[in-house]
């Protein structure tokens, strides 16, 4: 994985010193909250309902065990013993004190981490596939380019005061696990006619109050021109993106209002000016960064089959963990293991300091010291020997992290909601907890199969409800919390935005409504292998609408 050199270390050190000074000026009153706000936001510090919240970047979701231990240390020392992994592959601390922020940042810097640009109207932390560098289906490891993007976008002087926040995601696999079409810019590895790898560029995707699917603006940009091309998009957006209304300020609105062709023409014009200029990325540079991500020394092994059926008979919980939480690895004899942060009845994405330590230990022993954070708020051990799985599982059980529900109905995404978020209209974590209790039985979850439920506490859609196969959105109507249910969303390459089928439900009625949707699906699926989302696409709204609201 990427290692800071002296330059990177000095950069983060300077930045930490800079922000420490700003914190000092805020505490002394020299800076007003208004003046401090954009500065703290650029450093990942939010003011929440109860306290400040610090968001720490996990660039492209990759962590070492040393870094994970530091995150545990921060949770223990400056917070209430836990951290919250987010849908942006970041970790948030909900209770730090303003005066501790400089120490926290210094601690982070000591393990090559920071909180730069995890908020504010700038280019945010770049996200990618949690199985990058391990997945059997990827055509290129996206992390070197992710690292280059991280560097290029760090404190970019021209793009620090954009109309609105700006998110970039990339995937090296045609099976998109990074929801790139729901980002301001999405990059998908692509091949040109000569078989060379480059990037398809999507622009203008996003969730929030106006969900949009990203549009293909350029089918193939070679590595060497990627930065020039992105800078061209950024410049067009910075100059022409709307600033009169913060709800219309994302690039998706610009693309929507001006039309893809107009934006494309502007970007091409800009690109024609900068193409081949200083931002041209030499192959040596790509190789140099790429070397940091060289595959670890894998053993050469035969393909290892796992007899899940047999394991299930011996230990049902272990069996379903094997069944759900493993992802195929490109090297025979290895798998990627998803560590679910969705234990039944708990807050999605939360991990205690002890759990973080346990996961760090596992990474060190069984996964070449590597860890990933997924945008579905789980952790991943990317490179685990099949023969080590029993040991890994035992350790996870001990840490309370052995839920075998990855990809199942109880593996939900939920934003912090009313319990933590100042913007929320409704609670989301309690709803997630209720639903997961209702579907707690492993057999039941298996019967249902792959089904993604995503919950947001307000229209800002941090819980990505639009792309949930079933989405739940908290709204406020006449002083009570109501939940709107959407069906048919999909964050993958088959991107789709979920549809609202009717009026909202009160909190207590939500689990039963979900159950009715599930029943409608099970009753109508062609085979037990037809997933919910495929059945929905085949059947259309009608049966689901009826399940929710009865016949008219």
């Amino acid at each position: 994985m990427y290692r800071y050199d002296e330059f990177d270390a000095a950069f983060v050190r300077e930045r930490t010193a800079q922000f420490s000074d700003q914190v000092r000026r805020r505490i002394s009153g020299e800076l007003s909250e208004d003046q401090f706000r954009p500065l703290r936001l650029m450093n990942g510090l939010y003011l929440q309902l109860h306290a400040y919240m610090l968001r720490v970047a996990v660039p492209y979701g990759t962590l070492s065990s040393r870094q994970m231990r530091m995150l545990a240390h921060l949770a223990r020392t400056y917070d209430r013993g836990y951290g919250h992994f987010t849908t942006r592959q970041n970790i948030q601390y909900n209770w730090p004190k303003l005066r501790d922020i400089p120490s926290i940042l210094a601690d982070l810097a000591s393990v090559e981490m920071h909180a730069i640009q995890t908020s504010g109207n700038c280019i945010r932390n770049v996200t990618t596939d949690q199985f990058a560098g391990a997945a059997a289906d990827e055509i290129i490891d996206p992390r070197p380019v992710g690292e280059i993007l991280r560097q290029w976008s760090s404190l970019h002087p021209e793009f620090t005061f954009l109309p609105r926040k700006f998110k970039i995601a990339l995937t090296g696999s045609p099976n998109d696990r990074a929801a790139i079409k729901f980002h301001d810019i999405g990059l998908m590895a692509a091949l040109n006619g000569a078989g060379e790898i480059g990037w398809s560029v999507y622009v203008g995707g996003g969730l929030g109050r106006t969900p949009m699917i990203g549009k293909l603006i350029n089918a193939y940009v070679p590595h060497e021109h990627l930065l020039s091309y992105l800078e061209s998009i950024m410049r067009v957006y910075n100059r022409y993106g709307r600033r009169d209304n913060k709800y219309k300020a994302r690039i998706k609105i610009l693309v929507h209002e001006e039309g893809l062709e107009t934006i494309k023409a502007q970007v091409e014009e800009e690109f024609a000016q900068v193409r081949g200029g200083r931002l041209t990325l030499p192959q040596e540079e790509l190789d140099r960064i790429g070397a940091y991500f060289a595959p670890p020394p894998f053993k050469s092994l035969p393909v290892a089959a796992i007899d899940i059926a047999r394991e299930k008979i011996l230990d049902a919980a272990y069996g379903s963990w094997l069944e759900n939480n493993l992802h195929p690895h490109r090297v025979p004899g290895y798998v990627s293991v998803t560590i679910s942060l969705k234990p039944i009845g708990a807050a999605p994405g939360d991990a205690t300091d002890a759990q973080m330590e346990a996961v760090a230990d596992l990474a060190e022993r069984y996964s070449f010291d590597e860890l990933r954070v997924s945008h579905e708020q789980n952790l991943v051990l990317p490179h685990v020997l099949v023969s080590d799985l029993p040991a890994v599982y035992v350790a996870l059980v001990e840490a309370g992290l052995a839920e075998g529900n990855a990809g199942l109905i109880s593996d939900m995404i939920a934003c912090p909601g009313l319990d933590y978020c100042a913007l929320a209209n409704a609670r989301s974590i309690p709803i997630a907890q209720e639903i997961s209790r209702r579907f707690a039985a492993p057999e039941r979850q298996k019967e249902i199969g792959a089904l993604k439920i995503k919950i947001s506490g307000c229209i800002n859609a941090c819980g990505h409800h639009h792309v949930g196969h079933i989405g739940i959105l908290g709204v406020e109507k006449k002083g009570t919390e109501l939940y709107q249910i959407t069906v048919g969303g999909d964050g993958t390459e088959a991107a789709a935005i979920g549809k609202i089928l009717g009026p909202g439900f009160e909190a207590e009625a939500v689990p039963a409504a979900i159950e009715r949707l599930v029943e409608a699906y099970i009753a109508r699926r062609q085979t037990p292998d037809e997933p919910f989302i495929s059945a929905y696409r085949r059947l259309g709204d009608a049966p689901f609408k009826e399940a929710l609201y009865g016949t008219a």
Binding site: E14, R15, L155, E158, R239, L279
Partner: protein, 422 residues
């Protein structure tokens, strides 16, 4: 000012002399300019006093007073070669009218002019140097010859002159006599009227403070008369260390909000006003749309002008005319509006504009380093903490960069998009 400096001057004789000078100040009625002048010329330093006059808009009063005491008092005029023809005519008018017998024009050294100002445009490039060769140098040999100088300075002109006495001791141990110290603007006008003094020919055309032609502009009604001087330059001091005559020596004075080259300097530019005319405007930042509508007129206007770029303006539209502008002001109506950063980069990097690019509006300390990287070289700053941060050199800045921006940053290490500020 001479007096406060005395406190730290160790030489005893100076102090005694200073006390003597202070004592002189009590001798005359505030408005007794003639008494002051007569006493100085006849009693204090007989034969050792001279005057430098600009022959500007308010020089007539002092010269008229001089003529009543001693028509043979040496009167020096800095003939910079850059004066209005009207000024040269006015020298003649006053000389004859008052019967002054020793009016001497001091010319710059032709060798200096040939060497430093071959095209006559030095005033525009570097007014400090221009003043140096045209004023400071020619005056130097003359200053050494006299122990006292008469000036036309007045208390009311600036806050800094609020304590101006009739007699002053300068730091280089000369006596300055300020007969008009207590005169107000209306006293001057009343005196002119009472004695029927001829007006400088340009006075009625709106020139209230007149120096060299290129460095003098019309003053708007209500504006500080001296605002017309050195409009267009961040001129700090005239370079004449011995301040004979306010009208000549001091550049315009005002609230210094323009941070440039490591200091706050007086800002020669002002905002475009409705009443400005494209043909004659000078030292105003013209909005892009106004410029485009009156492009031909602005291009034939001989005076320095600037351009004011609002966030939504497209600088591409004025690309061909950028050389016309001595300064470009990029507006940041709110610090959160980042469009100006793109504008600045286009101007400096793409269009190769090398003149002053300044940020105006909501300019805060933490944005300044970013602005600099994007090519902005000057900042109009009113926010107090930001002013302090600039002055104390305590901008919180990160000096290592991850992307190539600007025209002066150099690569460090091997990565193409890592740079460090020069």
């Amino acid at each position: 000012m001479g007096l406060p400096k005395l406190a730290i001057t160790p030489a005893k004789p100076d102090k005694l002399r200073a006390l003597g000078v202070i004592a002189l100040n009590g001798m005359f009625d505030e408005m007794d300019a003639l008494g002051v002048l007569r006493y100085a010329i006849e009693e204090v330093l007989p034969g050792d006093i001279a005057i430098v006059s600009s022959f500007g808009a308010d020089s007539a009063v002092l010269l008229h007073l001089v003529s009543q005491v001693d028509r043979a008092l040496p009167v020096y005029f800095l003939e910079t070669g850059k004066h209005f023809a009207e000024t040269l005519a006015y020298v003649e008018t006053l000389r004859q009218r008052f019967g002054l017998t020793r009016v001497t024009a001091l010319h710059p050294d032709p060798a200096d002019v040939a060497r430093f100002d071959p095209d006559g445009q030095l005033w525009e490039r570097d007014p400090d140097s221009c003043c140096h060769i045209r004023k400071t140098e020619p005056l130097e040999p003359v200053t050494a010859q006299f122990g006292g100088w008469v000036t036309g300075r007045k208390r009311y002109q600036t806050a800094e002159r609020g304590v101006l006495p009739h007699f002053e001791l300068t730091s280089d141990d000369r006596i300055k006599i300020n007969p008009l110290a207590y005169f107000s603007d209306s006293d001057v006008n009343a005196y002119k009227a009472q004695h029927g003094l001829p007006e400088h020919p340009l006075y009625d055309k709106g020139y209230k403070s007149i120096g060299c032609a290129p460095c003098t502009s019309v003053v708007a009604a209500g504006e500080d008369p001296r605002a017309g001087r050195w409009r267009g330059f961040n001129k700090k001091e005239c370079g004449i260390h011995f301040d004979f005559n306010g009208a000549i020596a001091k550049p315009m004075i005002g609230q210094k909000n323009l941070w440039k080259d490591g200091a706050f300097t007086a800002d020669p530019f002002r905002a475009w006003a409705e009443t400005d005319s494209p043909e004659t405007a000078r030292y105003a930042h013209v909005p892009v749309d106004v410029f485009l509508r009156n492009r031909v007129a602005f291009l034939s206007n001989p005076h320095p002008i600037g351009l004011h770029v609002s966030p939504a303006d497209q600088v591409e539209q004025v690309e061909a005319d950028l050389l016309r502008f001595a300064s470009i002001a990029i507006a940041f109506p709110a610090f959160t509006d980042g469009r100006g950063y793109s504008t600045a980069r286009l101007l400096s990097e793409r269009f190769g504009y090398t003149g002053e690019i300044r940020a105006v509006g909501d300019v805060l300390a933490d944005q300044v380093p970013l602005m600099r990287r994007c090519g902005i070289t000057a900042f109009v700053v009113t926010h107090e903490p930001t002013r302090r941060a600039l002055e104390s050199g305590q901008l919180a800045t990160v000096n290592l960069f991850y992307q190539p921006v600007g025209t002066t940053e150099v690569p460090v290490g091997t990565r193409p998009f890592l740079r460090r500020a020069q």
